[in-house]
Symmetry: C2
Subunit: 247 residues, 2 copies
């Protein structure tokens, strides 16, 4: 029987700098709310991870290409240049909006490049190079520090086609499934569910966003009470090109 | 300071029939977990709402058009016919998959028409005619029965472009905001956030899905601890056509 889920924000983390021990800061913040527990899933904002990984670019040093200038319109072409450098492919562009596929395969605004919440108006934060590796490293380090084996999700806010507003989704996943596959399971009245795949890691990331907010400076939350088995990755959530009806 | 969020599944509801008093069944199920409280948001699965509203179609009586036969391929053309009747526009079709815009403006698989969990293999469940009205009616009736003013979200599982798996989203909303608009608010280091709109109602629906499951027959969950102000609607979450880069 499914029980109750708790989503617990972790307050009090400092403004993050490159090479900060984010796992230690999280374990310390978690101790204020009773500590981490086995089977917890820890959701960490991508921006926090990117900052400690040094994925920060200063606009001052950026040289602008002709293509960036064309796409920029009235926007800062240096920002567009940084986006293009992060993109495998531009999916749609309507100045100053650029929807791009990142090298990871994520399709999102600005190839995940973000200015808000950064260290200043002339500083951009990029996605982690390998969000699954970021999640796995946090999981390992948290295990070392606390002795507790948690799942970790590195989350970011993505827009969606056809729907307004962003929801947080999982870019990196470790120690918890990304997709719950109900292929062939029976529903409550005994009929087979066909090919139902639930993006649980995205729903967990979205649930955490509800307590992390956007202006509160809360970079992490604990999701407790899930009973999910297995392990997935952020790439499990990327639609394979051959099944993609929208590219 | 943001507090903890709780997501509480409501167990023990019976298999639903047309004209059942769903609000009463929910209030009774909630009493087993301590009852509803002010500021709770109640998430109710669309299928539960559709069943009590009689939005059920039997395949036996469906006459098939030429277009449905063409789109169906190897699938049951009667099912495609029902989908076409619910659709304002077919956005993509690759037999047997039909992505359509519903009359509400939602873009989703099969125009929201669903077979699983229905009353039999030859029965389809359609989306409510007006999910916002369904949410508002549940809210009013729950207020009458319990004296508690809750928010209500009618949820459904939608696929997404570019990402694998479904997440639950809000089709109908009453007494709680759909979008949290951070236009012009300052982030934690004092920089203005530009045009950040968070689809909180979709994230709440997704959080509820994590406890409602797909095979458990749990048609509703309480989300407690949100501190959201304002009221929205499901149509707030539909991307206006003029801003839509993907149609």
């Amino acid at each position: 029987m499914t029980g109750e889920l708790r989503v617990i924000p972790l307050h009090g983390l400092p403004e993050l700098e490159e090479d900060d021990d984010l796992a230690r800061l999280i374990v310390e913040a978690a101790s204020a709310v009773g500590g981490l527990a086995e089977e917890d899933v820890l959701v960490v904002a991508q921006k926090a991870v990117s900052k400690v990984e040094g994925r920060v670019v200063h606009l001052a040093g950026v040289e602008v290409s002709e293509r960036a200038r064309e796409l920029a319109g009235d926007a800062d072409p240096r920002r567009i240049e940084v986006i293009l450098a992060e993109a495998r492919e531009v999916v749609r562009a309507r100045s100053p909006l650029v929807i791009a596929e990142t090298r990871h395969g994520f399709v999102c605004a600005s190839a995940g490049v973000d200015a808000s919440n950064a260290k200043g108006p002339d500083t951009l934060v990029l996605l982690p190079v390998d969000p699954d590796a970021s999640a796995a490293a946090l999981r390992t380090r948290i295990g070392e520090l606390s002795g507790v084996d948690v799942g970790v999700i590195v989350s970011d806010s993505f827009g969606r086609a056809w729907r307004l507003g962003t929801t947080d989704v999982a870019l990196g996943v470790a120690g918890t499934p990304a997709i719950l596959d109900l292929d062939g399971q029976l529903d409550s009245v005994g009929y087979e569910l066909h090919a139902t795949q639930i993006a649980v890691a995205d729903e967990i990331a979205g649930a955490a966003q509800l307590v992390m907010g956007k202006t509160d400076g809360i970079p992490a939350a604990i999701v407790r009470g899930l009973r999910l088995e297995g392990e997935g990755s952020g790439s499990d959530l990327v639609m394979p090109l051959e099944r993609d009806l929208f590219r």
